[in-house]
């Protein structure tokens, strides 16, 4: 039981099965050809009868990823071909709409294929409402993940219809975080482009980032005790003097430690993303992006050298690469 009686009512229909929804058209070459043309698919198995005859199918078959498309209703929602069920296999989504969860986005499509379908077959599917999740807050809004399982069949004249594949389709039915503001002029919002964060520059580290602009890797040095330190700070961490200057690093070093980021993948970085703790020849250590290492090649002690990389023409970052890479 949840604290929402209406949600309990929706969850009570999980497991419900819905009857046949037919395809408007038999599997046919024009729809296959147009699909392939748009998607850039040139496999002769779907397009070239002479080639298809040489395969185990003996004739042209439909691209497997088209399976769901055959049985979609087309322009008019829920306008199913004659012979289809009167039920709405998506009634669960309608029920959520009544409670303010109006938006929907497809999240998962898991297709499995028992066999390829060939020209002339008449397809239909049946649906099971497989799961309704608990309330989740995502980047899009607050809502519910709904999972439907559709089983696809080919109708046979003798009544022994053949199972051809299955689609587990998961959608997020949600209320958006903010009501979108309709555009009233032609100025469309730009497609967002995610860039690397810029550094936070303060009085203490400004010399470091000015050095990067000048293609120098600067290490803070105490004028009183001559000790080096990184990252930069307001006072010497050895003698607490505030008389600080810097030296320019040779850019040579070795890998003191490293980590390889795999998950979660955060734009705009490339993954796997190797990050090193580099011990500079001068003695201080620096956290930095790494490059030039093949998979499995990273090792503590590897010799590395400084490179400056430019991002989007407006950000320069010191990074380290394998010597000789």
């Amino acid at each position: 039981m949840s604290d929402k009686p209406w949600l309990d009512k929706i969850k009570a229909i999980v497991g419900q099965q819905y009857g046949k929804v037919y395809a408007w058209d038999h599997v046919n070459q024009p729809m296959i050809r147009q699909w392939c043309e748009v998607m850039g698919i040139t496999n002769p198995l779907y397009l070239d009868e002479a080639y298809a005859k040489t395969t185990e199918f003996g004739q042209i078959v439909a691209p497997p990823a088209m399976l769901q498309a055959w049985c979609l209703e087309g322009l008019h929602m829920n306008n199913y071909p004659p012979g289809s069920t009167d039920e709405n296999p998506y009634e669960v989504l309608k029920r959520f709409e009544a409670h303010g969860f109006e938006s929907v986005v497809a999240v998962n499509s898991d297709l499995s294929f028992a066999r390829y379908v060939h020209l002339g077959e008449k397809l239909y599917y049946t649906t099971i409402l497989n799961d309704v999740g608990d309330e989740k807050v995502t980047a899009l809004g607050t809502g519910y993940f709904v999972t439907l399982v559709m089983r696809f069949y080919s109708e046979q004249a003798n009544g022994a219809d053949e199972y051809v594949g299955q689609l587990t389709f998961r959608v997020f039915k949600f209320a958006p975080h903010q009501k979108p503001t309709p555009q009233t002029d032609d100025a469309a919002p730009a497609v967002p482009k995610i860039l690397r964060s810029k550094p936070g520059i303060s009085q203490d580290n400004a010399f470091f980032w000015e050095g990067v602009k000048a293609r120098e890797l600067r290490i803070q040095q105490c004028q009183s005790c001559e000790a080096l330190q990184h990252p930069p700070g307001p006072v010497c961490q050895h003698c607490q003097s505030d008389e600080l200057s810097y030296i320019v690093s040779s850019g040579k070093g070795s890998l003191y430690s490293f980590v390889v980021m795999h998950y979660p993948e955060v734009p705009p970085f490339e993954y796997p993303n190797p990050i090193g703790l580099v011990e500079l020849a001068e003695g201080v250590r620096m956290v930095t992006g790494l490059e030039g290492f093949a998979k499995g090649e990273l090792a503590i002690g590897s010799e590395v050298e400084l490179v400056f990389n430019e991002f989007e023409g407006e950000l320069t970052l010191p990074m380290f690469r394998k010597v000789g890479a």
Partner: protein, 141 residues
């Protein structure tokens, strides 16, 4: 696609990487892809409708993403491969003007069934549009 370019089961190994593939995302691909998959949801073909939903532009439908995943895998494997299973999960949307770069790797090999699993992702400027895995049966030779 050349007819004799099929990848064979004996010719691949666990950990092999597929060549990357760059897919320009255009308004034409998004709208024509939606219609070719019989998906007339307005957000896939009508910019005003997409913007009223809070999107900057029309966005790709999941059936087009599935098709592009099929294309990426079979362009590499050749016409003799057979799809057994295709699982995809969508992340950030594909909008016009972007580019999606597919990368993939063989993450499982089943000797008995002559099948391999390809784990793949399609990344655009905002992150991963799609993560997926495809089970594929390959010819022996």
């Amino acid at each position: 696609m050349t007819l004799n370019k099929s990848v064979t089961f004996g010719g691949v190994a666990l950990g092999d990487e597929l060549p990357k593939c760059h897919v320009p995302i255009t308004t034409t691909l998004i709208t024509a892809g939606a219609i070719a998959t019989r998906d007339y949801f307005p957000g896939h073909h009508d910019k005003d409708a997409a913007q009223a939903l809070g999107s900057p532009h029309v966005f790709m439908n999941i059936l087009t993403t599935s098709a592009l995943v099929q294309r990426y895998v079979e362009d590499w494997a050749g016409p003799a491969c057979r799809f057994v299973d295709m699982q995809i999960k969508l992340g950030v949307p594909n909008y016009p003007g972007d580019e999606m770069v597919f990368s993939g790797e063989i993450t499982a090999v089943d000797e008995d069934k002559q099948q391999i699993e390809v784990t793949l992702k399609g990344k655009n400027s905002m992150g991963n549009h799609v993560n997926g895995s495809v089970l594929l049966r390959l010819p022996l030779q």
